[in-house]
Structures are given as C-alpha cells and as structure tokens.
Symmetry: D2
Subunit: 483 residues, 4 copies
C-alpha cells in the first residue's frame, strides 16, 4: 500500500513509543499534544494532497526501485524535470500550510545518500548502496516520513570531531559488533523529528583520517532504544495551549524542532550507509546541502505567497489597497518572492545525472538560491508589517475580544471599512504576526537563515564554484594579456 492518507499516517505514528521531552515533561507520542499537533498536521497535508487528482502530478512519482506509484517525498529523482517538480510540490505545500512541512529534509537526505553510497561502493567495494536501496524500498512501500539528520552540536568549532573535549559532541560509533554498530551523540535543530518514522543520519562536515568513527551514516526508527528528543521553544508557542483559535494566527499547521540524542543506539548492519570512509563525508554533506538549499526555493516561496496574500487582504481591510505606495510594496514583495522561485527552478532545470543515475541540482545555483533565501524573506516580512500596520502588534487577546465590555470597545473602535467583518481583519493581523514574529517566523525567517547551512556556508560554495580563473581568462582575452 504505497500511499497512506493523513489519517493513516497519524495512526501509524501513535503506534510508536518515542521519548519526547517538552516543557520539562516526558511523553510517548506527539499526537494530540497542542504544541506538536500542528506539526503533525503539516505532514498530514503531504499525505492528503497526494490523493487529490489535481495535485497527483506534483505529489506522486513512479519509483525507480519498486516501479510503484509513490509519494514524491520518498522519490529518487530520475530527471531534471523531477527536480523541477520537487520545487513546485514544495511551493504548493508552503501555500497550503503556511508553515514548514518538514518532509523535505528526508527527501533531500535520500537523494544525497543514494548517489554517494553508489560512489563509495565503486571506490571501496562496500555494500552501502544496496543497503540503502532496500531501506528506500521499505520507506516507499510503507510511505514513511524520514527525517534527515545532519547538524551535530559541534562544541568548540575550531576543533575536528575527534579532537573535542567530549568525544560525543559529534555523533560517532562507540562500539562495533558483528551484527551492527552502536552510536552516541546528538543532532540539533531536528525539524519534524517527533512526527517522523525514521531518522536518516549523516555526518555534518568533511572529515580527516582521524575522524573515522565520525564518518557514519545510517537509518533507525525513532522509537529505537536510546533515542531521546527534547523539543525546542518557539516564539509564541504556548498560545497553542490557550484553547483559542484567533490568537495563534494559524490554528492548523505548524512545525517543530528538537535536540535529538542518540544515547548508545544500536544500528543493524543492513541499515549502515557509511562507516569510516572519511573521504566521502564531504561529498555527502555537499550533496545533501545542495538539495536542501534548492528546497528553500520552493517551500519558502509558497509561504511567501500566503504572506503576500495576507498582506494584500490587510491593505484591503484597512481600506488602503489603492494607495500607490501599497501597491508598489506588494509588487516588491512579489518580485522578491518570484526571484527566489527563479533560483529554485534554475538550479533544478540545470540538474545533471550522477553516477548512480539519480539527478543532482546545479550546485552553484542552489547555493545562490539559498543565499537569497537568507535575505529576501526578511524584507518581505518587513514590508508585510509595514502594510499591516501597528494593530498587528497591539491587538488585544481573543479573550478580550470576547469580553462583553472590552470586546464591545474593541469592535467599535477597530472597525475598518464597512464591508469587512471585523473578525476577518483580526484573523489576518494574527496570521501576519504568526508569520513574521510568531511560531511560523521560526520557519519563515530564522530557518531561512540557518536551515541547510548558515549564509557563510553558501558563500564558501559560491566561491569554490565561481571558476575565477576562467573569469580572469575572459578579462585577459579582452585586453590581450598573455601569461
């Protein structure tokens, strides 16, 4: 049964017994928790849209492994067109959830591990690619959510993994057994981890020969023994526990992040995809980061679409939509958002085949894409706040709005144009707050900065990919400089 429904996905999640900490309390499942449920709902959308005929082309694909129709989030890209469709699917999900829907990181890890394991095997005679294909087939057949996990907490950044005061600051193999390995360490900022089935671990940096135990990639279920998650706080998170709908801004969808600890977790042999081949750690990192930097040219654009729409509504409800400066700001927001989309599309359509047969994005353009994502959503958000007006941050609470005395004053005095129900104006204010300062701002802004690597990481790749000797040669040719 290759395509689950959202409901089935939620049921499948309930059956797992995880260890999740939140606000100092431990729980076994994220399902039903008011802080975490919106994150589950976002993922549910990735299942439910796959059943809708109008989205079938974007949301599903045919597996190169099983030959079956699968959710595109579990697909190994078979063409540049697949890469383009991936970006369009992400824009769609961003539009439908106005949140981080978390399933991309696994898809990107999938494709990076797929091609890298092939090349490791070619070079080292290992069997990782076959292991990974089996794992991928299992995920595709059961339509699972896989969380890709890369970012170690890194301790002292000036030291290599094997040189840290505490050897666990980078995840590593602590024991090798005939049937598998035992690993210890942690991955930070794991988006969607509490509502995933499996975690696919990768190393976080290029490594030297001393870092053998740290050059490890594998997948395990999230209810594996020794696996513990500690959920991070988001701006405005507890509004979700107030039993109101208005104040949360987006009362259905959201995201979450957690510190994910591997406290002596066992990994069986057939789930190992890298184990000591340090020279391939860099390739895996670069490919995963490349795919994930492409992703932001889709998902953030979709969220941007919602924010632009909300802002246009705010202008309309404020009776200001005809002012030329308002129209111009909406154009600027759109221009910036579509520039991101151009980058997402371009690095995809320029994708090329790897030795393993799947398709890799254009690395330069994917890094350019992400670099723009570290800038433009902040300016889009600023313009949204500009148009929304101060009410966005001074609107009283839903409880006040429903209070007989306070509520009467609020409704009397915040009346806008007569054609708009006042509640609509309030809803849109809260949505813009949510996206620019609240829970969703974690995804739309800060994650746009740091997800898939902080800005400087892209600049390093842009520099490396810039072929400066070639550019110098062009200039020399124009002015006839011969070396």
């Amino acid at each position: 049964m290759a395509l689950m429904t959202g409901k089935e996905y939620e049921e499948s999640l309930k059956k797992m017994k995880m260890r999740i900490f939140l606000f100092g309390e431990e729980m076994e499942t994220a399902v039903g928790n008011p802080i975490l449920q919106p994150s589950i709902n976002s993922i549910k959308a990735t299942y439910d849209l796959a059943h809708m005929p109008e989205y079938e082309d974007l949301m599903t694909a045919t597996s190169n492994i099983t030959g079956e129709k699968i959710n595109r989030f579990t697909h190994i890209h078979q063409s540049a067109e697949d890469l383009v469709k991936k970006v369009k699917m992400q824009r769609l999900l961003g539009q439908k959830t106005a949140a981080c829907f978390q399933r991309c990181v696994g898809m990107d890890a999938f494709n990076a591990v797929y091609s890298t394991t092939y090349e490791v095997d070619q070079k080292c005679g290992t069997n990782y690619h076959e292991n990974f294909r089996k794992f991928a087939a299992y995920v595709q057949e059961n339509d699972l959510v896989v969380d890709g996990a890369m970012t170690d907490t890194k301790g002292d950044r000036s030291l290599a993994p094997s040189k840290q005061a505490d050897p666990d600051l980078y995840l590593h193999v602590v024991e090798r057994r005939p049937d598998g390995i035992v690993v210890r360490g942690a991955k930070a900022h794991q988006t969607g981890i509490v509502n995933s089935h499996e975690v696919l671990v990768m190393p976080t940096v290029a490594m030297g020969p001393d870092d053998k135990d740290y050059a490890v990639s594998f997948a395990v279920p999230l209810d594996s023994e020794g696996l513990v998650m500690v959920v991070g706080r988001q701006s405005c998170d507890t509004r979700k526990t107030e039993n109101t709908t208005l104040d949360v801004g987006n009362d259905v969808y959201g995201g979450m992040e957690a510190l994910t600890v591997f406290d002596n977790v066992f990994v069986p042999n057939d789930r190992i995809f890298l184990n000591g081949e340090t020279e391939f750690a860099g390739m895996l990192v670069e490919r995963f980061a490349g795919y994930h930097r492409q992703s932001y040219g889709g998902c953030k654009v979709g969220v941007g679409d919602v924010l632009i729409g909300a802002t246009a509504l705010a202008a309309e409800y404020n009776g200001a939509e005809k002012a030329s400066h308002i129209k111009d700001k909406l154009i600027e927001m759109t221009h910036l958002n579509e520039t991101l989309y151009c980058c997402g599309i371009a690095c995809s359509s320029e994708g090329t085949e790897t030795a393993s047969g799947n398709y890799l994005i254009d690395l330069m353009l994917a890094n350019v894409c992400k670099q723009n994502v570290t800038r433009f959503p902040y300016e889009i958000a600023r313009l949204a706040q500009d148009i929304a007006g101060g009410l966005m941050v001074t609107l009283p609470s839903e409880k006040d709005i429903n209070h007989p005395v306070a509520g009467a004053y609020i409704k009397k005095y915040f009346a806008g144009t007569s054609t708009t129900p006042i509640e609509n104006r309030f809803k849109i204010m809260r949505l813009i707050e949510n996206l620019t300062m609240g829970t969703a701002a974690v995804g739309y802004l800060t994650e746009s900065l740091h997800g898939a690597g902080s800005p400087q990481a892209q600049r390093v790749v842009i520099s490396r990919q810039s072929n400066m000797p070639g550019k110098k040669a062009l200039a020399k040719a124009i002015v006839h400089i011969e070396d």
Copy 2:
C-alpha cells in the same frame, strides 16, 4: 519635591484606580501584574537614573517654568543643546532597559503643545498656553509620567473625521459645559498608558472647518471616570507568567500598548489646550511627529547597542568571534546603528527656536531619521540572528534545562567553548530572541516601523521639505537654463 525615585513612582501609581483589561479580565492597577510590571520597571529606570550623579547632566534639566531641577522627560527644551541631550538620554535608557521606556511620547507631546498653544493664543486670543504652562508646572513639580495620545483608530481612511459612519472613530467633544467639555473616542496603540499618571491628548490629522469638534487637545489623569484601557498582546507575552527567568530573555524590563477608550470623559476648562481651532491641528501633529521621529534616533540606537553587544557575546560563546565574516557583520550592525544616531543628533543640533521660546528639531532631518529607523533595525536584527545561529529558535525551555534527564542532555550537547558557563550562552540566545522576535521585537522592530507614523508619512514630509524648486534652480544654473 521635583525628583521621585522609582520606588516612589511605583507607589504613586498604586494609589490610582484605573480600569485595565487584559486577557479578558479587569484590574485596577498594573502594579504587580507579571505582564505589565516590566513596563513599570522601564519607567522606574527613568526615575532612578536621574538620581545617579554620572547621569545627572543627561537625565535632569532646569525648568524654564519653575526654575527647579526636574527630570528631563518633563522638560521644555530651551536650546539645541537640550535637544541633543534628549537624544543622548534616550540612547542611555535604551541601553539600560533594552526596551521601550515609554516616557518619550509625553515629553514630545509636551514640547509640541507648548509651542502650538502659544501660536494659537497669538492668533485666536485664547488662553491655552497659560493652561498648558500650569499643567506642565504641575507635572514637573510632581515628576509625573504623561502619556501623549495621538493615534485615533480612523475607521474608513478615505473619510474625514466628521464624515465617519460612527462619529466616535475620531475622538471628539460630545458636550460643552460651563466648567469644561466631555469627550468620546479612543486612541490606539498607547505605549505605557497603564503606567502613566496623565494622558495628554492631541488630534491625529490636519483638519478642515467641519471637524471643529475633533480639533481638541487636553490632559486628564488616567483614573478619570470613563477612561478604559484594553491591553494588546505582544509576541511571547505569556512567558512572563511562567515563573521562569531565562525564557523571557529580558526578565526586568519591557513595554506595553493599549487601546485607550474615552467613554464620555470630562475635561475641566483649565486642562483644555485646543478646542475647535481646526487650522492648528496640522501644526500640532507635525510638531509632535517631528519630535517623536527625532526620539527614535536615540532610543532605538540604545536598544541596538544592547543587541549588538549580545550578538558579539553570542559569537564569543559560539567560539566564532574571530571569523572575518562575523567581525564584518558586527561592523555593519554598528555602522547602521550609528547612522541612526547621526540622524538623531543632526536633527537636534540643527534645531531652532519657536515663537514660544522652546526649541524645535529640524523637520526634514527628523523625518529622514525616522525613515531610516523603519529600515535599519530590521537589518540589524537579521544580522543578529545570522550570528546567533539556529539555537536561538530551537533552545528547549528553562523547564527542560532544569529537568534531570532532558537538562543533562541539553547541557552536555550545547556546550560551546569551555570557558563559558553554558547558562550564559542560553541567556544571550534568549535575549536575542526577545529583541528580534519576542516581546521586545514589538518595540524594536514593529514600533520602529509604525511608531511616530508609518514610513509613508515620513516620505510625505520629506517630499514637502525637499525644496525641489530650489534644487531645480541649482541644476538650471549649472546648464544655463533661464525660465
């Protein structure tokens, strides 16, 4: 006794019986309420610093009315140097509170009403200036907090005050009595209103002859009958009610805003400063806005100093402070912040005397100042988040950090460089979150956009002040065009 202490101020506040709504509940005082107390604490700083010898020159002045030493926040500026000291005092308070300290709006209203009433009296033979001097003397002698109130809720923005469907959408006189007037309406987004003693009301736009009842300025105590405040929500507001200190980021200082309703409030004759002289509404608005746009070149710079310092600490605690891109970003933050300061200083030192004898800022430069404030803090905040790293939005709650199991993992894995206690790193992360997404972001970002008028309002003044015919004449002279 002209200079109260912070403690005395708080006591004085407790004696007043206000009507305050918050989260659907009514209370009589803001004192002690966890959401509102930080706002009181910010004001307390304006009192306590005035007693410290090292800040005496900035924090106090000699009243031109009483001849006594007074808090500069109640001062009528007597020179351009006074205007410069005002900006420096505001930078100081921003540095000490990392928040909006709210007492500026009254100071700015004071100076605008002072000079405008003088000119109204000259033209119309009224007695407003004398009324105002008496009120000012009372405020100075008792060292009170006055909240300036300008922004009506405005309803349909395409209609004049007197043409609105609901006549109360702009505050107006509803009854004229021998001993005074009765007013009805509301002022939105009132910063610090629940912890002020008096409110000084001004009209919100230039007005035409039909708007006579709306051209009204006056002052009343905040426990006047008919006065009701409904507090607005801020991002992350309820963290202050969680009985923790870490998660709030700034556990002492903050700000607040409220919808302030005047439901048939009586104003005695000697507290009236404008009453029907519509042709002066525009002057009052322009001067108040001018002073308040100057203010942002001080207070936001001070808050910026804290954010830059916090960001430098984050870099240090992350072990990244020596990276050239980090150093360059800190320089850029500083450069932008000091550019704002230049604007605050320049519009002050170029201030000129009004007919009444007090000093008015340079209008062009004050509007240029505010226009930059609508942009640069957003970029400073983005750079702060860049340097801080993703942990700023994924750090678990204080309750998790204190939990025996979860906390142990957190402390083990988020260890940075060995010389830094891990708690310090967490504190700085939360402070940056507070300033860029949390309660303080309302003041540092959104208020920077909309406080003292939204960006477009400054552009209108810049255009009006640009002397374009003069500039055209300069160009014509260079190329010998004669008209």
Copy 3:
C-alpha cells in the same frame, strides 16, 4: 549558404548604402569608422563563434522553416530547451565581447512576431504569418542581422499615438498603396542599427481603435530610401579615435545606438506583418518585451563574468586578493551575477508553446529577471570600482605613459607587486573603467535599466501576473475566512 563568417558579414555590410549621421557628418557605411567598427566587431563574433565546434550546440540550430542548420540568432525557438540555449548563447557572447552584441533584439522580435502573426491571422483572416515565415526564411538562408525596432519617441506621454501634436511622434502609415504602404516616424535608441541588414518594426504600446495607422509591423532593408540614422554619443566615445589601444579599455568590441528615422519609407505588401489590427499591438509588445527581458538574464551575466574576472585581476595586481573583504566582495558580485542567471534560466525552462508552435518564456519570471537586471549590475559595478581602487579614474593617458619623462614616473610609481607587468595593471584598470563609466557602461548599466523597458514597466507586468486573488485565497484558507 546558411552560415556566414564574420568577414563575409562585414563584406555584405559594405555593399549597402545607408544614411548615417555621426558628429555632424554623413557617411554611407559604418564599416571602418573607428567609433562604429567595434559594434561591427561584436556582431562578427556572433558569426565566427557559430563556426567553432565547441560552440556549435549553443550557436546554431535547425530551422523549423527551412530544415537547415542556421545561426541561433535567427532561430524560431522550438522548445523550452531552445529558450535555455538562447540564454546560454547570450552569456557566451557577453563573455567573449564584454559588450552589447546587438543581435538579440532581432531574435526576440522574430519570435514575438512569429507567434503574434499566427494569432492575428486566426482571428482576422489575414496573411501575416505566411509573410513573416517567408521573411524569416530569407533571413535564415542569408544569415542576416535583423534589428528589432520598438521604441517610439512618444512626445507627450500622457497622450495616445493618434492624439499627439505631431502625428509622426509615433511611427505610422501615411499612405496605403496597392503594392504596399508608406510609413513615417522614428524609433529611438536603436542598438546596432548601423550594422544590421534589416529592421523589423513593431508598435511600442497597446493601442485603441483610433490608433489604427499606428498598429503596424513590417521589415525593410536598412538602405531603404527614406531611412536615416543619427548615432548617439556614448561616454568616452572619442577615445576610439585617438589611435591608442590602452585608453579605450576594450579595443575590439563595443556597441552603438541611433535614432532611426523613417521618412516616408515604402514597405511592400509581403513585408507587412500587422496593419491596423490594434487589438494585437499589446500582445506583440508584451511578447517582444518578455523575450527581451529574458535576454538580459544571459548577455549581462556574460559581461558580468568579464567584469568579475577583471576585478579579481585588479585585486591580484594590487596585491590585495587575499584580504577577506576583497574575497567577500568577489563572492557578492558572483552571487548577484548568478542570481540574474537563475532568472534567465528559470523563465526559459518554464517556457511554453504558443498556438503557432514556437516557445514563449514565462512572462512573470522574465519580468522578474529584467527587474533584477535594473539593480544588480549597478551594485556589481560599484563593488568592481571598490576593489579596483582610485587609480581606475586617475591613471594618466597612454600618451603620458609612453612619454619619456612622464612615463618613467608613471611606471616607477604605479608599480604594484613585482610579478605583474605594469602594463597589465593599466589594461585592467581601463577595462573596469570602460565597463563601469565608459562606452560599455552604456550597455552594462544604463541599458540594463532601460533596455526592454524601464523598471516601472516590469513592475506593471509583475503586478498583472501576480494572481493576487489567488494569493488572498491562500491566506483566507489558512485562517478560515469565507466570503
């Protein structure tokens, strides 16, 4: 003989007898004129590269009309891949010439007229498409340069074409004869017109029913009777007449623009592609502008490559290439340049088939592309000047450098690092000057602003293409607003 060499092209040009004014003198040919020859040389590159095997895939295509191998500049795009190759060809030419190579405007006019004539014929029963295919076949078979001509001089911009004081301010039909039409008017800013064989004229704006005589499209040879060109001045143009090579910066390639006057020019019937069908003027404008806005995502990127390379050389010759701020600025230049490329690629790969069978770019993304082109080259140029240093604008003339006394001082004192011949440093300074202030700045900067429509023109299209109702619906769905 479908592919001419550059030499053959130049010979073919010499045979034409044009009317060209330059510096108050009239001449019959541009060939050999020192001001105009560089423009001819740029076009020659479009011929010569088509004969080089390594560029064959980009520079040539198979005609859908003749079935022959042709220069891609005369091609009717048959696929999205063709659109992508077009952009790559333009980047290549920009890299090779560091100038505007002028042949794009004809290619873009070709494809716009091709699809529009088809739709006009479908609707109006006319025969324009067949006329155009014949013309296209002639151009392809003879490998001609066609200059697309759109921009009328427009007079009073608030009036429609037919309402102008002088009816000729928009080009129009002044006489209809059995064998053809006679036209009068002028097209401004015509790039490469003196070195083209044919001019393909299109209307410049959408038109109303009164503008029938102005809705005209046709092609004529540039030596037609009544056709007069007045060449515009470029910054630093006369350096090309000084008989030196260093001071011009780029001594081989360049571009030119001219006011092109049609003073009662006769157009035979089979060269008419629109004649009074006012409702199609807007479509033709939009499609041509769309293609041409795509073009800038290729050509300017190629020129940008040269400028980046020259800047990196300047840093190297100054001994500063290892400074972190220099490296970072080169990354920023590259990032901006590749962002433009992303836009060029994306609007191409998202191209779609028209009713006529050729491919049209994605209109939104092409306009986003051009909008970025109106900004980024200016910042790239600023960064180039930053790195180059002041010598770029204070270097003495080649005559001084060759003077025994002055030259000795110059060479002694402007010695950089010992490994670089000082002449190389001077050459690179002049190249950067040329691209940022000199003749090439006309193309790289000002044309980037205004070519294919000024910035505001793109904003209008972006607004129209933004599907704001759809975006509003997305926001409404998130917060459950039902209309």
Copy 4:
C-alpha cells in the same frame, strides 16, 4: 589683503611656473587649458562666494592666528559650530559647482597638522607647531590654495614603507642638510594639485621605528624645483576640447587629479612639520582622514542636490513628474542625500577640542558618514538614470543637433512636452550623464568610494571605535551575567 577674488586667484596662479604633463605634453600652467580650466573655475567659486554678503557667514571666519577675516577654507576650526559651518559651506559649493572644488583637502590637512604638531612638540620638544602656525598665517594672509597630499602609491601593500623594493614608493627624506631636507617619492590621485599654490605633505600610514625617513610632513610651493605633475584621464575628458558646450554637461566647473612626483625636492627647515617622529604618523593620518570623511557629508550632498534637481527637471521635461513611482524615487534620492547630510552634521556638532585648541570631529560618526558616502551616491545616480530615461545615453552630439538634416530630425522626434524648449531637455540629459558617467562621476561616484580612504578603511575605524566591550557589558547587565 586676506580675501582674493577669483580673478586675482587665477592671476596669481599664472605667475607660477609648474611642470604639468597632460596627454603626453608638458605645460607650465593649467590656466587656459580646456581640460584643466574647469578645475580652476571650481576653485574660483571658493573665492568669489566669499565676497558675497549672503554667504559671508559660511564662507569666511576670523583667524585665531592673525585675528583677520579669512576664507574659511584656510581656517583653523575654533568650535563645533565652525565644524558645522564647514560642512554647510561644502554643501553650498557642491550646489554651485556640481563638481569637486578641491580646496577641502588642504583645509582638512591644515587642521590635522595643527593639532598633531602641537602634541608632537609637547612630547618631543620639537618646534613643528610654531613652524606650522607661521605657514598657516602666510596662507591665510595671502588667501592661498593648499593641496593636502597623503596617498603614496604604496607598491607592494604587504610591505612597510622601508621594506619596499624601490625605497621611493613611499615619499621619504633622502638627504638632511643644515638648512632643510631633500625628499623623494610621489603622491597619487592629487585632486586640484595643478591649480593649488602650495602642497602640504603628510605620511600615508601608521609607521614603525624603521620608517623614520618616511615619517615626514612639510609644505612647499607647487613650482618648487623637482616637483612634477602628471594629470590623470577622466571619463569623457576630451569633450571639453571639442569647442562645444552642450556635450560636456557642465561647461564651467570640474575637477582634476594628478600623480605628483617629488624628485629630490628641497624643504627648508621652517616648512617641516614632522621629521622622523614615527609614533605620530598614525595620529596625523587618522585626524586628516577623519576631517576629510566629514567633508564628504557636505560636498557630495551639495552635488547630490544638483543631481536631484536635474532629475526632477528631466521628469518634468519628459512629462512624467506626476507619476507616483517618479515622485517616490525623487523622495528616495532626497532621503538618501539628507541621510548623508545628517552624518556630516552629526560628526561636526559632536566635535571636541584638541590639546592645541582647535576642534576635531567625532571620529566614529565621521567614519560612518564616509561609509554611507561609499554607497548612497551610487544609488542616487542609479535612480537619476532611471528617471532620466535612455535618451541620456543615446542623445546625438551637439554637432548633429546643429546639423541641418540630422538636427531637424533630432528636434522633431525628441520633442517632449510642448512647454519645454527642446534644448533644455538636452542640457539636462547631458548634465545627468556628466554626473553619473562623465567627468563629474569621477568625483561624485568613484571619489566617493575612495577619497579619504576606501570603504574598508572606514570599517576598520568603526570597529576600533565601537567600544564592543561596553556593548557586551550592556547585554550582560540585562541578563545578569557576571564575569
């Protein structure tokens, strides 16, 4: 006679016998040379305006040395108000000349040398301050133009002055005689040198103990034996030799730069202001740079005023001045220009007294000022080109406009709105070209980048002045971190 007229200044210049190279030819005076005369004219304006009563307050001051009324360009600033007036004088001159008027660099050198020599004498028991006061009195009494000279050509930037392959790459003492010293070396990019009377030389960097011979400051007349100037080319320079007025854009005023060689120039003892006290080289550089970075907050603002006025006229002549996007761009240009002015004013009004009694600007704010000057004029220029339209770079030459055939076409087709003589439109186009690409762009753009130090130089000072430990302490206080 303390105040010369412009005419007298020009006469005084003629009497000097300098060695000037230009286009490979040597001449004895700049007076009357078409390339150099505009530079002389700019300086003449600094004389003539000093005689106009309306500018007396800005243009003149009372000497602290002679007690006489002098031209402010030769003044030793006696107060912060003097610093402010200096900036206002510079804005005035920028407005009147639309060019670099070159006399600032001497004024800035004057004030830096004045205070530094005082402190050297205090520390080292030397007599430099007295020497300098005598020189200053001579300059003030004769109202001379002094060119400050700092920038050595520097050779290999990674080596100290005394370590260069060629010891002359930094100017240095080559012989010490009883009556004075002999110096050799060169200063690059000397603005206005051919039309100055004296040159005041300063070292270019902070120095170490080995650089004793390089730590030298002195003044000599520009016709001293051994002094040679080689004029640099400017964009469009030779248009000034074409005997036309339109095409030059600004036919009266301009600037110039030259490589200035000191080939064994003798300096008498009483003209020496530093001679081996290496530890004061850095102070002198920092103070001069500080003053000169302040200057740009005046002069470039004045030039910006002309460019904004010209752009507004272009919009008017194009019939586009009422379009909202045009108005908004003019506001943005004004806003950016006034932001620069804020910085110029602020660093002046915050000036403080030095040990010698003159006033020094605020170093942080002066560097912030200049840093903005490296950015905003480029954006102002881009917006000017945006509004001007493509005609700015495609307008035919004056010779064509005057040609009976070509000129008739040009005038017919470039007619704008009927109320504007077409010549006016052309004049304004050429003025905008001049300021954004032509001779004046060297001053308005590239000099804005590199004059008074390239952007990175300011960033180094901003970093040093940022008091980061103090800012960190502010953040620590907020979150209760104790060290």
